[in-house]
Symmetry: C2
Subunit: 415 residues, 2 copies
């Protein structure tokens, strides 16, 4: 992508109405646009990051047999009354509106109920189970406050997977499969070392639910972490009884701030019974289906990555989700420099290496600082001075380490 | 994809509450699920078709320099009051709700206003223009009635592109570029021969807007078509004056039913002036930006394709958007048949040919009729009888033509 073709621009100053680091940086770099508090549009570079995150999540969900579909934003009152989650006193984040005939409708803040009702049409016998379905969808939640940028929005993208099983054991085995898949997702997103399987409050069926908490100073949660065992306890369930149960000593635990990037929940058969989701077992008898629910906040995880990895120069993306691998900065306007930069741009693209090509007539300082603000993993500089020795300068965004390489060395390094 | 892994099932009977052919067939085939009238979820096979359509549209929009982004569902009252389109008396399809602090919010039924306000942050000088941005987004419209399946929904996917230009001429040139790109889209979707550039009512800036109307007996529109010149007039603007202007004779025109699959609209500078979207020209003077708006109904076009191409056996997808190219039907359970079918499934996948593998223990009749209902372009049959001669039977869904081929002939045919 040539920067002269990209409509967004960087900004030196942070928007006055943003307190979160993630929104400040993402807006300055032209990745997102604030529509209203907690509601952000994703501009071309932001959309690329979002799609890269989705792709990783999709691959890992498909790898464990998840079947992708997409449910609807519009939700019917009848559906949610079946589980007593329509009433605003029970769920206080509904956005609701009315059809022309005065029928109330809601806007999807979650999808356990409609997706499980849909499954009733397809789950009849034990032969139809187990099955896992998932979606990557925009959720709408009427949050009282929204000051955390894309870490907690009124409109955000979530991956939610739902598993349907014949028994508690079968559900447990899927639960563990999804846990492993989630750890692979966070690994690939560059959060593997800082994300911990965390015990949190359960529901009527299980004592605990589980969260994936990423260490993050600006996170909303507090967890008690056992680094060696790679597990944590959310403060909401941190009691002596729980410590005993998990065979943990309080003094082995660190109290840390963290952000919840994923959660998994075992509903047992409660919701299925409320929704009359039964299957016929081998004897032809009706049995309630065991439901598990598993979420990853796609936009939130993008926000957490910004909060954790960015520095005083700007954003810093892991290569797996960066909008491009290379920021090609052409310094100067001499015929040689333009020709060489155009050539290297073409060569990298031919090799399938994604490049943002800064072909603007801007001062070198602007180009170099924009490359840092945008957070692209590698910056390659083409300049008259370097061309005298037929070399290129490559700088790694993460370490700031710079090397002077020949054409072949450069291609070897980036391939 | 193995059918034993797919959770959806086909149904012999049409849902009682659907009158439209597209919804009846898509539900029977397990492509979509009805959440409420005009609101459909897309199940795995339906989502594949939808994503294939999006991919074609995306490629053609990128080819003309469109930059993809994604705006938000939540919309602020202030934005839409600037152009007097917030009031329900002016726009009668708003879904609206309220934040906790009683601030009114709307749900995006269109995005000209917010996207143009966003552009104000990036369009300053004549050097920043022209620029075109687009999104593939879910729109929410509070339609009074919704009986046309996915051809007119309360929740649907649309591609909307917006062009920003410096002059009427520059806008006109983009307008023509987009027109050509749209015709390529409809060509690739298999609708090229039946989709016509149509003169429809304009706005305050231009006499006409233009629609892309696809001949369709169940469409909502009536157009007057000049087949040779490949243009049409929407009945809403069909007057003697317009006929004269376009140098058409009434008796050369056919009156036909059609469905609007795309539209393009020239707003001139009116909306930019309402929203204060100005750029500085070469002399440093403020000039209003010329806005064009261009839509393709992604889910609608899917519905129109079903209405037009399906037959009494079921769906019929053009290869460009089918959920798979091949339906591999394994008839019988002998060791040989299973082995051979597994082999051919692996071979086709290795060659990058998408396959739905019917590996179910179902009667041959069920498999054959399901292959037709699902509308997959080619059906390949593996059976004991055929294996005696080391042959495979291939049937084209569109023509019903069947051939008996050897292994090599089959691969050559499908590659």
């Amino acid at each position: 992508m040539r920067l002269t073709n990209l409509f967004t621009k960087t900004s030196k100053t942070s928007p006055a109405d943003e307190v979160s680091k993630n929104a400040q940086l993402l807006i300055r770099a032209g990745y997102i646009y604030k529509e209203m508090a907690g509601v952000y549009a994703y501009l071309p570079l932001g959309l690329l990051v979002l799609e890269n995150i989705k792709k990783i999540v999709r691959e890992e969900m498909n790898a464990i047999g998840g079947q992708e579909l997409i449910m609807t934003a519009l939700q019917s009152k009848d559906t949610w009354e079946m589980t007593d989650r329509w009433d605003d006193k029970k769920v206080d984040i509904w956005f609701k509106s009315k059809l022309k005939n005065d029928t109330e409708v809601g806007f999807g803040w979650s999808h356990e109920e409609p997706i499980s009702l849909m499954m009733k049409g397809y789950v009849n016998s034990y032969r139809d189970l187990p099955v896992s379905v998932y979606q990557l969808q925009t959720k709408l939640r009427n949050e009282l406050r929204a000051k955390s940028g894309i870490m907690r929005g009124r409109e955000f993208v979530m991956k939610d997977l739902y598993s349907y099983a014949r028994s508690a054991e079968e559900l447990q085995s899927i639960y563990e499969q999804v846990t492993d898949a989630y750890m692979r997702v966070f690994e690939r997103l560059g959060l593997g070392d800082s994300t911990f399987f965390t015990f949190a409050s359960g529901g009527s069926f299980t004592q605990f639910s589980h969260e994936f908490q990423t260490l993050c100073d600006t996170g909303e949660d507090t967890i008690y972490l056992h680094r060696e065992r790679k597990i944590a306890i959310n403060e909401e369930v941190m009691t002596d009884e729980v410590l005993n149960q998990l065979q943990l000593n309080r003094d082995e635990l660190e109290q840390v701030k963290s952000a919840e990037v994923g959660n998994i929940f075992n509903f047992g058969t409660k919701k299925s019974e409320q929704l009359s989701l039964y299957y016929k077992d081998e004897k032809g008898e009706n049995q309630p289906v065991y439901l598990g629910s598993y979420g990853i906040g796609i936009t939130r995880v993008m926000g957490v990555i910004v909060e954790k990895l960015s520095d005083d120069k700007g954003l810093l993306w892991p290569e797996s989700i960066a909008p491009a691998k290379v920021y090609l900065a052409r310094l100067g306007l001499s015929e040689d420099v333009v020709k060489k930069a155009d050539e290297i741009y073409a060569t990298l693209q031919e090799r399938g290496i994604s490049v943002i090509y800064d072909d603007r007539d801007e001062r070198p300082g602007t180009k170099l600082s924009d490359s840092e603000l945008l957070g692209i993993p590698y910056r390659v500089v083409v300049s008259d001075r370097l061309l005298q020795d037929s070399t290129y300068e490559i700088t790694e965004r993460k370490t700031g380490q710079t090397n002077i390489l020949t054409h072949d060395q450069l291609l070897a390094k980036l391939s």
